[in-house]
Amino acid sequence: MSVRQSTPRWAVGVGLACAALVVAGCSSATESSGSGSDEPGKDTPAVGFITVGPKDDFGYNQAVYEGSQAVEDAFPDLEVMLAENVPEDDSAATTMQRMIDDGAKLIFATSYGHLDAALKVAEENPDVVVVQQGNTITTDIPENSGTYFGTVYEPMYLAGIAAGAATESDKLGYVYAFPIPQTIANINAFERGAQSVNPDVETITVSTSSWCDPGKQQAAAESLLAEGVDVLTQHQDCTSTVIQAAEKAGAMTVGYHADASELAPEGWLTGAVWDWGPVYTDIVQTVVDGDFVGSGYNDNFRVGYKTGTNPFVLAPYGPGVSEETIAAIEDAQAWLGTEEGSPFAGPVLDQDGEVEIEEGVIPTYAENDAMDFFVQGVVGNLAQ
């Protein structure tokens, strides 16, 4: 209360300053939206990457960072900009616009929730290519935009084989963020991979509603371990918390996004990890050449074992994986690359025992990208 009497001093000064700034803001508000172009992004001098988390998270964002390094190595003349910790909201558009103002004509918006902002920036900058990693554009795809991703559920199926063979309690634990199709497919593939070598196995799921919240991850991991789970895996951007919790409890781990075997020397089995370099480099080359419009990347681009260029690869095996299991995984990987191979080769039953995919049906990558049910053997509520 004692400073009340001095308030009016502030009042005038601050009011004036704010008024001046508002006027300044208004008067300089002429945005230059570049003229349309048939070859958006051609000969771009710079490439921008935005990530939702830090570049050293033992996970999703670290994989993006390593991919951006590969681009830097492949194109020494290109300036590579990277902004970390960019939230999945409208402020992402400001960060992307800033990179564009600095000369970037190609932007990689790398988190699932960056799509709205990416499409907004693409619309405002027709001469710039904005590609988004992992989401799917369900409306008409603009000429200067697209999404790209790998079929992560394929290596997760293989990792499920390792988990199903290693578990003694027949209970696997899965910590995930949001029930989006990509995650649902991962969980289902993991369970089905495990079932292929161990019919009694079940996968218990816990959602954290966040891509990276170590507090919630710790709580989720502990509750799963208390349920008797002895193999933990996850769909989180930052992976170290869950892996360390498993290792501390003497449980086993299947990694995700990046090779974190150094965090769990005892319990590491394997994992699905990224190798983004080749895909990023190819996208940059396509854009620099002016060939983006109408290319495979000007679409919802998906690659997998069937196309032979899956950016997801299997991490090195840990000590708990037997020779026999490795052989089974290698056979399954070869099978996934064939016409008949799929983690979701019918029949597939959902949690209630209803047939979701008929016997003999092999769903396409696009169909898997719209998955909205848990398969039999998965424990958890999809909250729909």
């Binding site: 209360m1 004692s2 400073v3 009340r4 009497q5 001095s6 308030t7 009016p8 001093r9 502030w10 009042a11 005038v12 000064g13 601050v14 009011g15 004036l16 300053a17 704010c18 700034l21 508002v22 300044a24 803001g25 208004c26 300089s28 508000a29 002429t30 945005e31 830090p54 900009m81 990277l82 902004a83 970390e84 910790n85 939230p87 999945e88 909201d89 409208d90 402020s91 400001t94 960060t95 616009q97 800033r98 990179m99 103002d101 600095d102 699932y112 929730g113 709205d116 989401n135 949001f178 029930p179 989006i180 199709p181 509603s209 966040s210 719209a370 998955m371 909205d372 909250a383 729909q384």
Partner: protein, 356 residues
């Protein structure tokens, strides 16, 4: 108001505007400079050149139209969120619940827009969103006020804990009844175009800024020039003395917290209808806590709150430049924020001595 204060007040009114403004600006510039010098040391340790870093921030954040406008967009909810701390603080209450009240404001606004659907006109939806958001925010703060009045629960604890309940409620709504699509990331469907907050002509800054600055003036007038403002400051200063002089302290406490909650709810509405257009799991993330800091930085005074909110918004927008121009980690902006907080609070403490 004490006799001493009245004299000081009268003195202040007679001092020319320039003489009043200059020391204020000098103090802030001084404090910010100290913080920037200290931060330079960190930058040097990180192998970055402080001069390049600061010129980078200046050129790409303050001299470019879009980032500058982004600062004004981001400061708007912070102003209202900080006022939501300042009003209860006048009554001696600590409202740490801005985070939850902002979320509830977003929920109230979104609920109103979903209820009215696509048929109502933009003005009707906007009006309904404002009313519902302020009611929802007030309700959330009111729960804490009721707990204090009925069970004697400290409002600093209850408002803080209610933040987590609000977040859970938001998650429930966006996962189930309000979810846009069962296969997308949990979020509500986008607000219809007519119900989006209009922008200040020629800019990308939404009208919320005008509302926030206007309300800062209103709060200033109410706190310093009305009976109610005087009464809550008496109740806040010494509740026992207030009771003995016939003031209804419970009503004053309840009203101060309700108004605080309503202001935070409005912040949520502006964030929803002016910026995000959707409720997502990250809706309003950290806005309440940042507002709380901004309010303390401004020592609970409405006009300094405008400056403090601008500073925090500018820091947030500058983090892009720190990463891209100076090449330091994104998290280093939090270090700069802390330094500024300490430096400015240090300087305002001196000011208090000088005017006492």
């Amino acid at each position: 108001m004490s006799a001493e204060a009245k004299v000081a007040d009268a003195e202040v009114r007679t001092v020319p505007v320039v003489a009043r403004v200059v020391p204020v600006i000098a103090r802030w510039v001084g404090a910010l400079s100290v913080a920037l010098v200290l931060f330079s040391v960190l930058l040097l340790l990180k192998g970055a050149n402080p001069i390049t870093a600061y010129t980078g921030i200046w050129e790409t954040t303050f001299l470019r139209s879009r980032p500058l406008q982004e600062i004004f967009v981001q400061m708007t909810p912070l102003v209202l969120g900080a006022l939501a701390v300042a009003v209860p603080a006048r009554a001696g209450l600590t409202n740490v619940g801005g985070e939850g009240q902002i979320i509830m404001g977003g929920v109230g606004a979104c609920g109103a827009s979903l209820f009215l659907g696509d048929t109502a006109s933009g003005g009707v939806i906007l009006g309904a969103m404002i009313v519902c958001a302020m009611l929802a925010g007030a309700l959330w703060a009111g729960l804490a006020a009721a707990m204090r009045l009925v069970a004697g629960v400290n409002e600093a604890i209850s408002t803080l804990l209610l933040n987590f309940v609000a977040l859970d409620l938001l998650l429930f709504l966006i996962y189930q009844p309000w979810r846009e699509s069962p296969t997308g990331q949990p979020a509500t469907k986008e607000l219809v175009d007519v119900a989006k907050l209009p922008v200040i002509s020629g800019t990308q800054v939404n009208m919320g800024l005008v509302l926030a600055i206007g309300l800062a003036v209103v709060v200033f007038v109410v706190l310093t020039r009305t009976k109610w403002g005087f009464k809550i400051s008496v109740a806040g200063g010494n509740a026992e003395a207030a009771r003995r002089s016939g003031l209804n302290v419970p009503v004053l406490i309840l009203s101060a917290l309700l108004i605080g909650g309503a202001l935070a709810g409005l912040a949520g509405m502006i964030q929803f209808a002016g910026v995000e257009y959707k409720l997502r799991a990250s809706f309003g993330y950290q806005l309440g806590y940042t507002s709380f800091l901004a309010c303390w930085l401004a020592r609970h005074q409405p006009f300094p709150i405008l400056v403090a909110a601008f500073v925090f918004a500018a820091l947030s927008v500058s983090s892009d430049s720190l990463q891209l121009d100076a090449g330091v980690p994104a998290a280093s902006i939090h270090v700069l924020t802390a330094l500024i907080l300490i430096a400015v609070l240090g300087f305002t403490a001196q000011r208090k001595k000088a005017t006492a």
